[in-house]
């Protein structure tokens, strides 16, 4: 056994080690013996590092038997990067250029197996010479050919094959089949690298094929069961497949004659070996025919042959028949003739090697045969091997969706699929069917009826419970008139499943109950009590998601009319690609190892598609979610903006349940609170999905509190600003002068000058009134990266006067943080305090720098990879045309260099950033857009400073992702804030604004 083996091996290794140590007394025979023993032990899986030296040293032995052992064992034990090989390189070279043929063979084989760069550098010319030498015997030359092949593959730069076309042509005239076989391998490598150079070899290959296949002109030793070297035939046809076409009509005709000969002349014979060998040639011929795009006739002949193969009993031939038929699908004209074999292919699903048939069916499916194929797959699902079920169901689902003749059929298929293989399908499959049903009104009653039917069965898979409960919750009211479909009955059908489902499904059931209850008009007291009892029961559930829902639904269902809005039917999903496909994309955008985890994390607490994605369950730490926002395009319809706000809400104290009740139930504040949050949501998003709506409602007060950290605050004052502060701020980010703030009493204007990392701002404080403003105070709250000095601000601003306060700014290092001006004054009895963001933002320290290609590319390349070069795929971008985006960048002082990028959909830009720490740094930007989907793009930023790269990337992203005026100010405007419509024309402040 294993243990004994180990002990024995240890003992033997100890013995060998001792013997090698003593060295002197070792006869050549012993040495050989021990080296072979070592190889044997190595083969058993034990380390024999100590013996490498011994094996290598045998290479320099003078006697053939030792030398041979040395060479063979060395090439088994070492790889090309091993240091010991260097020791042998001289001996190897001497053997190769020496006169001893057998030594030459050994040395060539070693180099051919493990030769690395150093070998290539010192030996390539010698090997080339040997291969072509007429005085060398075939046994040396065939090894030289493969040795050269290795050297060429490993180091194409070292091995010079210029002008080899002629020599290869010459080599192919060789009569010896050993040399020919090796040369053909070499040719394949050369041709695959550069087929144009070797076109002269093409007729030669055809000739060889003709000689072998047709004329059978080979020595007896090279026929195998009567077939002239099948391996050389195969290799030759392989080489021919590297040439795109055959132009010379004569060669082409000859080749087709040979191929025809092979296709027609191959019969099924009794002898297995002969049969295999001839079919090996035949399958290769088929591949070549396909490659050459032969006439339709020949193609159909091939399909017919393959049709024969997939019906034979021999599993190997059947397997290859199916595989080649799959390959045939590429050829457009023969698809119809392949379809004729559909029945046979379907039978092959029962093969133990089912994969091939499945691939083929998947490939050949189209609208005409989808119904048959999918139904076959479904049927087969019952008996399929467990390892195959997942793939099988996935393929069935994709085909059903892609080629569905009508939608109710699609619903049937998916429900059947869930029923039969619930454990094996991913959530996406049922998410998708929910989408379909939601988006197709006609389908809803049908789906609801079906769902009820399935749910009534005993022992239903949990995924089935999920999808059925969801559909019934949404649409069972459409069935209300049918017998057995009263809300009460539906409820009891669903409720029956509750004891058997896991905690991830219960929330879904609760939603369904809430919806059923809401749809029951007039209210049914008994049902209501039943459902309320359930809600009450789960109010203390340990699972946060369930608990939250129970509490919320209970509270909501007592609100009466307001519930109708919140629990209304789900809005239609925007038309988009399949979530299955989307899922593939998402993971692609992600890093490999994280994607699966994240997707799972996203899906776990899921009840409905949309809700989950933008709303992680309470128990989940928000940071996880934050991290993926930028990368993952969560499969929902909302864009990043919504994520941002939701996440913002969630990162506050989440789930403070009591607030639901404190919140006045009137509709007004609700919509006010929801309004700004859903600002970019799709139409009808205000009354979004029940869950998010509730969560936003409940954390509504937090939003208001939350705004305290956002610098824009109107404090306790009753004075309302004129115009939108955020809009003004953003305008000032782009230009250097303008109004920062205005209210009925004061106007604050700004004029700025920027030079490299320094800036000089002037604040213009204008009193609009006929009485003075007193207790004026201005305090700058600079972020860490800015040094700011505000000159003295007078305590009083006289009536209708304007005061200028210079403000010096020095940028220390890159950061996106924003400075805040804390400004207060007193007018009459009003004490006004405002906090205003100052437009000393990152882009002010940029200087546009147009560059040429010569300047750009070396820089771009020298900054390789993170952290200096960062790349990100940005989704949810505000759609804009390319020129518009260019303008936007330009306004942020980033210079576009047109024409640098060959792709017209991409932008390349550059700029210089100045700060005291970093001095001037060049930043390079590349933005790749997708003309088909303007909402996403890929951005690459590069600069010498990692911090800068990151900050600038985030900065640009912020500008692109959403309309800046909203992005920066998630605070809802105060409810009763109608902006003062106009300023009297004679107002000095307005004149001032004009001047600026």
């Amino acid at each position: 056994n294993k243990e004994q083996e180990r002990l024995r091996v240890d003992k033997e290794l100890g013995n060998i080690r001792n013997r090698f140590k003593k060295e002197k007394g070792l006869t050549p025979y012993d040495k050989k013996k021990y080296v072979w023993k070592m190889l044997y032990i190595y083969m058993l899986g034990y380390d024999v590092d100590f013996g490498h030296m011994e094996a290598v040293s045998l290479i320099s032995a003078s006697k053939y038997p030792e030398k041979q052992v040395g060479y063979i064992v060395t090439s088994c034990l070492l790889n090309e990067n091993h240091d010991f090989l260097r020791l042998a390189i001289n001996t190897v070279r001497n053997d190769i250029i020496g006169r001893n043929e057998t030594f030459q063979c050994l040395a060539l084989t070693l180099v051919g197996n493990i030769g690395g760069r150093e070998f290539a550098e010192s030996l390539a010319p010698d090997v080339q010479k040997l291969l072509l030498s007429s005085s060398c015997r075939p046994l040396v030359r065939k090894k030289a050919a493969l040795c050269l092949l290795r050297l060429f593959r490993k180091n194409p730069d070292v091995v010079n094959v210029d002008g080899w076309a002629d020599r290869m042509t010459q080599l192919l005239d060789e009569r010896d089949l050993g040399v020919l076989t090796s040369s053909m391998s070499l040719l394949v490598a050369l041709v695959s690298n550069n087929h144009e150079a070797y076109w002269t070899c093409l007729p030669k290959c055809v000739k060889i094929l003709e000689r072998l296949a047709r004329n059978q002109d080979v020595p007896q030793e090279y026929t195998y069961y009567g077939i002239p070297s099948p391996w050389l035939q195969v290799k030759t046809m392989r080489a021919l497949q590297y040439f795109p076409t055959i132009e010379d009509p004569n060669t082409r005709r000859t080749l087709f004659e040979v191929l025809q000969w092979i296709l027609m002349g191959t019969d099924v014979v009794k002898n297995v070996n002969k049969n295999n060998a001839s079919h090996a040639v035949l399958f290769e011929a088929l591949a070549l025919v396909m490659h050459l795009d032969a006439e339709k006739e020949m193609m159909s002949q091939c399909v017919a042959l393959l049709g024969k193969f997939i019906a034979v009993r021999e599993p190997n031939i059947r397997y290859l028949g199916l595989e080649n038929m799959t390959r045939m699908l590429i050829v457009a004209d023969v698809q119809e003739s392949i379809k004729r074999h559909q029945a046979q292919i379907i039978t092959s699903l029962k093969d133990p090697d089912i994969r091939r048939a499945l691939d083929l069916l998947y490939g050949m499916c189209d609208i005409t045969n989808a119904k048959d194929i999918v139904e076959e797959l479904l049927q087969y699902l019952n008996s399929a091997d467990f390892t195959m079920r997942e793939e099988l169901s996935l393929k069935a689902a994709i085909l059903a969706e892609k080629f569905a003749p009508d939608l109710s059929w699609y619903v049937d298929v998916i429900l059947q699929l869930i029923e039969k293989a619930g454990d094996f399908i991913s959530d996406d499959i049922w998410f998708r069917v929910v989408q379909f049903v939601t988006n197709n009104d006609d389908l809803q009653p049908y789906a609801a009826a079906k769902a009820k039917e399935y749910l009534e069965k005993p022992a239903v898979d949990e995924k089935m419970v999920k999808v059925c409960a969801y559909i019934l919750g949404e649409y069972s009211h459409l069935l209300a008139r049918r017998p057995g479909c009263s809300p009460k009955e539906i409820f009891s059908i669903i409720h029956e499943k509750l004891p058997s489902v896991s905690t991830t499904t219960i929330p879904l059931l609760l939603s369904a109950y809430a919806k059923i209850l809401m749809h029951t008009q007039p209210p049914d007291q008994v049902l209501q009590n039943q459902i309320w009892t359930i809600f009450t029961k789960y109010e203390s559930c340990i699972d946060a998601e369930i608990q939250q829902r129970a509490v919320e639904y209970f509270a909501l269902s007592r609100k009466g009319a307001a519930v109708m809005d919140i629990l209304a039917e789900m809005p239609k999903f925007p038309e988009r690609q399949s979530s299955l496909i989307k899922k593939a994309e998402d993971a692609e955008a992600d890093t490999a190892e994280q994607s699966a985890l994240k997707l799972r994390a996203q899906q776990q607490p899921s009840n409905a598609l949309v809700v989950t994605d933008q709303h992680p369950s309470n128990g989940e730490p928000p940071p996880v979610f934050v991290g993926q926002l930028s990368v993952v395009k969560a499969p929902n319809m909302n864009n990043t903006k919504d994520h941002y706000s939701t996440e913002h809400v969630l990162s506050q104290e989440n789930g403070n349940l009591s607030q639901v009740d404190q919140q006045p139930p009137s509709a007004d504040p609700l919509s006010d609170l929801l309004g700004p949050l859903a600002i970019e949501g799709p139409p009808g998003a205000t009354v979004q999905y029940e869950n998010s709506a509730v969560s936003e409602l409940e954390s509504g007060p937090d939003v208001v509190d939350g705004s305290a950290i956002v610098p824009v605050e109107v404090g306790t004052n009753t004075i309302q600003p004129i115009g939108n502060i955020a809009v003004r701020f953003h305008a000032l980010c782009l230009k250097d002068s303008g109004v920062l703030y205005e209210d009925p009493y004061i106007q604050i204007g700004i004029k700025a000058e920027w030079r490299a990392h320094q800036g000089r701002l002037v604040l213009f404080l204008g009193n609009k009134n006929t009485s003075p403003l007193v207790s004026v105070q201005a305090l700058i709250l600079p972020p860490a990266h800015l040094k700011m000095e505000l000159s003295l601000v007078p305590d009083t601003i006289p009536p209708r006067a304007q005061v200028q306060c210079p403000l010096e700014v020095v940028n220390l290092r890159p950061s996106r943080d924003v400075a805040v001006l804390d400004f207060s004054y007193k007018f009459g009895t009003h004490m006004v305090n405002i906090k205003l963001r100052l437009p000393a933002v990152l882009n002010k320290f940029l200087q546009p720098l147009p560059v040429s290609a010569e300047e750009f590319f070396p820089q771009w390349r020298s900054l390789s990879g993170p952290p200096s070069k960062l790349q990100e795929v940005v989704r949810g971008v505000r759609p804009m045309a390319l020129p518009e985006m260019a303008n936007l960048l330009h306004s942020y002082r980033i210079a576009i260099s047109p024409g640098l990028d060959p792709n017209p959909n991409n932008l390349v830009a550059s700029t210089t950033f100045y700060s005291e720490d970093t001095r001037a740094i060049v930043c390079l930007v590349r933005i790749e857009t997708d003309p088909a989907d303007r909402t996403q793009l890929r951005m690459t930023l590069a600069s010498g400073d990692p911090t800068l790269t990151f900050e600038l990337k985030e900065f640009i992203k912020e500008q692109l992702v959403s309309i800046p005026t909203v992005a920066q100010a998630p605070t809802p405007p105060p409810p009763a804030a109608p902006p003062t419509p106009q300023i009297p024309p004679n107002d000095p402040a307005a004149l001032l604004a004009d001047l600026l």
Binding site: C76, L177, G178, T181, W231, V873, D901
Partner: protein, 252 residues
Amino acid sequence: MGIRFILMVNKQGQTRLAQYYEWLTLEERRALEGEIVRKCLARNEQQCSFVEHRNYKIVYRRYASLFFLVGVDNDEVDALMVEILWRRERVRGWSLGLDLKRNLVSETERMMSKECLGCYPSLALEEAVNAIGQPTACYEQCNLWRSEDTLKYFLVLDRAVELDGFGSKSGLCACWPVGLNCNKDNELAILEFIHLLVETMDRHFGNVCELDIMFHLEKAHFMLEEMVMNGSIVETSKANILSPIQLMDKAS
């Protein structure tokens, strides 16, 4: 590249001969041998002689108690599916569909271990592109690359299609090796090559059995050395294969 390894394993799963034509560490060898032997031994007569395992296609044949297993490249099916999808549906490289995606994930794992190619953002794509030559065919958003080194094909899905001055090497890009038709080995030819090997041994030993190979490991290696070099077939004439061994036998 052709043959990656040749194994002879008995029914108990003990390796009797192992010859690799690519470098694997001891651990990798042990794991690989264990996995494929388990897989092949579990198969029955009605199943075909080809098993897909990771990036290999194993062609195996059983002689009495001894299994001969030959590992060759196995990539073509993925490429094939890509081709089909492309030609028939004009799918963009970006949304290939889940089944391909799944292949991709499993492919990635193996690339990590072997080819050192990256999949997903900026992983090891530098290396990937270094190993990759010029695109041989470009589809809308999907490039088919061929590596100079291993003569394998790579499918590169990337938003940035072209290999321009910016180097598509960075960024969102999935890349996995595929073999087109040309790169796949002819399974039946390999299957018969096994038989040729057995017949050659038979000619030398006379009614060869497991013990012959075990006790004359060196001879088996000599024969293999004459027949295969670096994964390519050198010689198929039994007389030529055996002549050096006979020469030596005579000498000693």
